[in-house]
């Protein structure tokens, strides 16, 4: 029998981990001489109580949805893709090229083109580590870390030497054409009398991210490929017996993962800055790890976790604005979430399992 009921595994354990992370975050806030309660109030106020706050929260959540899904797809094949950051960066390059060099008549076509560009570039950036893992046994964690740095160097080079408009000083591409402008939530939901999401960067890409959630859910739990990815992730020997090629699954899972990570750039590069800048990813690729771990690699869980992190990100920005707590608080919270839901999972799990076993024994 399972040591504990399924609901405990997918709801209780993440909640306890989250509570622990929150508890330690509160301690950190206390230690730097601020009040955790006040901080939380400010965060909720800034991120959730106004539509513009939601506009930021959902904008960040969009990024984390893509990167969180990217990490989860790879996790299902028992591959740890730390390269989401680099894949997103290169995905941004894809977006930029598509937006700069194709004369799009309308944003609806442009977003499709940009998505394809982003996904292809992101996937390409995941392909080499995937191939090296599958064929030559090079550890994918190390190679994807290295590829993050290589991506940053490459992007720097491309922006400074190739895409920077003549005479411009900052390492960034030219502005994209106006036709590629994506409707923001403000454009979509405001009426003449009630402006909504004023100034917030959330845009139509959010719905693309929701579609990606559905896509991943269908892929993982409803298709043959998903069946094979999960089987390979659970047991490589089993996969071989069933005629599932480890090389194929490793490469395909990483391509999908890289493609999803790359698509994050549609949101940042096309939806927000409307030109390619050096640091558009801002660590979202790494937050994907926390999001995937918290969401237990399920698209719905990833959705909830992405919203939570979107809230933290926006709330953190508010905190930085109104208090002396810097934005890096979010990085600490993110680290604690990864620590408790990922690395210290057994610390939380083992006592809970013991309690359930003891309860069962008492009942019988």
């Amino acid at each position: 029998m399972d040591k504990m009921p399924k609901w405990a595994d997918i709801v209780l354990i993440p909640l306890i981990s989250l509570f622990l992370a929150a508890f330690f975050s509160a301690l950190v806030i206390l230690a730097i001489g601020e009040s955790p309660i006040e901080a939380l109030k400010l965060m909720i106020d800034g991120a959730l109580m106004r539509s513009s706050g939601w506009g930021y929260t959902l904008y960040y959540a969009t990024n984390f949805l893509f990167t969180g899904l990217a990490v989860s797809v790879a996790f299902h094949a028992r591959l740890f893709n730390i390269g989401g950051e680099g894949q997103a960066m290169i995905g941004g390059l894809g977006v930029a090229l598509v937006c700069l060099y194709v004369p799009w008549p309308h944003w609806s076509l442009a977003i499709l083109g940009a998505s394809v560009g982003a996904a292809c570039f992101g996937a390409l950036w995941a392909l080499i580590p995937a191939y090296l893992q599958a064929k030559r046994g090079s550890h994918i964690v190390i190679t994807t870390i290295m590829f993050n740095f290589i991506a940053a160097a490459l992007l720097n080079y491309v922006l400074v030497e190739l895409l920077r408009p003549v005479g411009a000083m900052d390492p960034a591409s030219a502005k994209f054409a106006a036709a590629t402008h994506l409707p923001s939530f403000q454009d979509m939901f405001s009426t003449a009398e009630t402006p909504m999401f004023r100034g917030a960067p959330a845009n139509v890409t959010f719905f693309l991210a929701l579609a990606a959630c559905v896509f991943v859910w269908v892929l993982i739990w409803r298709t043959r490929l998903g069946y094979e990815i999960r089987a390979f992730g659970q047991s490589e020997t089993g996969a071989k017996y069933a005629g599932i090629s480890p090389v194929k699954i490793t490469v395909v899972a990483m391509l999908i993962s890289g493609g999803l990570a790359g698509m994050m750039s549609v949101n940042t590069t096309m939806g927000e800055t409307e030109r390619l800048i050096l640091n558009s990813t801002e660590g979202a690729g790494f937050i994907g790890i926390a999001v995937a771990l918290m969401g237990r690699n399920h698209p719905f869980g990833v959705f909830l976790a992405a919203i939570l992190f979107g809230f933290l990100y926006q709330g953190g920005a508010e905190l930085a604005l109104w208090t002396s707590i810097p934005r890096e608080l979010i990085v600490v919270i993110q680290a604690l979430v990864i620590l408790f839901t990922g690395a210290l999972d057994n610390m939380v799990r083992e006592p809970v399992e013991k309690i359930f076993i003891a309860m069962r024994r008492r009942n019988t």
Binding site: V28, A31, I32, G33, F80, I82, I128, P129, L132, R136, G137, S138, H139, V141, I142, T143, I145, M146, F147, F149, I150, A152, A153, L154, N156, Y157, V160, E161, F286, I289, L293, S324, I325, P326, E328, L329, I330, V331, V332, I333, Q334, A335, L336, I338, L339, G342, A343, L344, D345, N346, M347, E350
Partner: protein, 336 residues
């Protein structure tokens, strides 16, 4: 390129290689014991901050270093808990530690110093100053002669140039780092501890059935790793630079990891690979030299990526095979 310029570049290489070397050796202990550590970066960063902060308050670089080591060891203990005691995923733990350090350092720096996540500049004994070796031409000679140091060195013979420019004038931590290499080699290959450490990274069951505690061995390796990362961080903020700035490790922990793979987990190779990667970083600062040397302009951005590209090539097995310790990243679970 003249001889003196070469010496200058090499001198910078040594300075820049030092934190890499310390972190690389730190990783070597941990990984040789079977605990993969991608949290070198975070431990170094935490140490850099706490060293600078403690050095600032105490005015003593050594006190700073102790604080840095303390911070780094604390994070190493977290990694030990996650990967040894609770048999968790070592890679995820490393990722968490990197973020924890990246966030905490800025948070605490802001709270203590209110200078946007940095410490005040360190001066005097709060920093590790250069050490003038005997018979070398150093700042004190220049002062005594009342002439610029650079001119005095330029006028000296090649051997004296070599000695004064490259060998002498580093902080004590540079020499300490270099000494750590033979020490590590000796410890690893000539002592009982080293034998057991190497064994536990290859086959923990062999160590366990031989009546030696796997947990204890791995914790000691992880803690040594913490100490060395602490020194590396202290060097960054109190020797190489005069204070802490946000994210000042700038990927050095990962370059050290790359150097470790490049060195195939061997201490002496680690020295060479760190010096090589240090040279890359030095050349990044002096692109003019490469341009003079090769006649065409080199993209410095791409030069910066060279250690990473080299590591991928090594990992792919195109230049010799890099085989990590067999029990790497695997928690030890007792079974018959």
């Amino acid at each position: 390129m003249d001889f003196l310029t070469l010496l200058q570049v090499l001198d910078t290489s040594v300075r820049l290689a030092t934190p890499l070397l310390l972190a690389c050796l730190a990783g070597l202990y941990s990984e040789r014991s079977g605990v993969v550590d991608i949290g070198l970066e975070g431990k170094m960063l935490a140490a850099a901050f706490f060293s600078a902060a403690a050095a600032y308050y105490s005015g003593n670089a050594w006190v700073g270093m102790l604080a840095g080591i303390g911070a780094s060891v604390a994070l190493a203990t977290v990694h030990g808990l996650a990967s040894i005691t609770f048999r968790g995923n070592q890679l995820i733990s490393g990722v968490a530690i990197n973020f924890l350090a990246a966030g905490m350092t800025v948070l605490v720096a802001q709270s203590w110093f209110k200078q946007g996540g940095r410490t005040p500049s360190l001066t005097g004994s709060a920093r590790f100053g250069p050490i003038e070796l005997p018979f070398a031409i150093g700042p004190s000679d220049a002062e005594a002669a009342g002439r610029p140091l650079s001119r005095m060195i330029a006028e000296a013979g090649p051997l004296q140039q070599f000695y004064s420019e490259l060998i002498s004038g580093h902080s004590i931590l540079v020499y300490l780092a270099l000494l750590t290499v033979p020490l590590t080699w000796w410890l690893l290959f000539r002592t009982r501890f080293g034998l057991r450490l190497r064994a536990v990274g290859e086959n923990p069951a062999a160590v366990d059935t031989a009546g030696v505690s796997v947990v204890w061995l791995r914790y000691s390796a992880v803690l040594i790793c913490g100490v060395l990362c602490g020194i590396a961080g202290a060097y960054l903020s109190t020797a190489l630079q005069a204070g802490f700035v946000k994210d000042m490790t700038a990927g050095r922990g990962f370059i050290a990891l790359a150097a470790l793979i490049f060195a195939k987990w061997r201490p002496v190779y680690a020295l060479w690979s760190c010096l090589l990667f240090g040279l890359f970083q030095a050349l990044e600062l002096r692109p003019d030299i490469i341009t003079n040397l090769t006649g065409f302009e080199v993209q410095i951005q791409l030069l910066g990526a060279l250690p990473y590209i080299l590591t991928v090539v090594i990992l792919a097995g195109f230049i010799g095979k890099a085989i990590p310790p067999k029990a790497s990243a695997e928690p030890y679970i007792k079974e018959r």
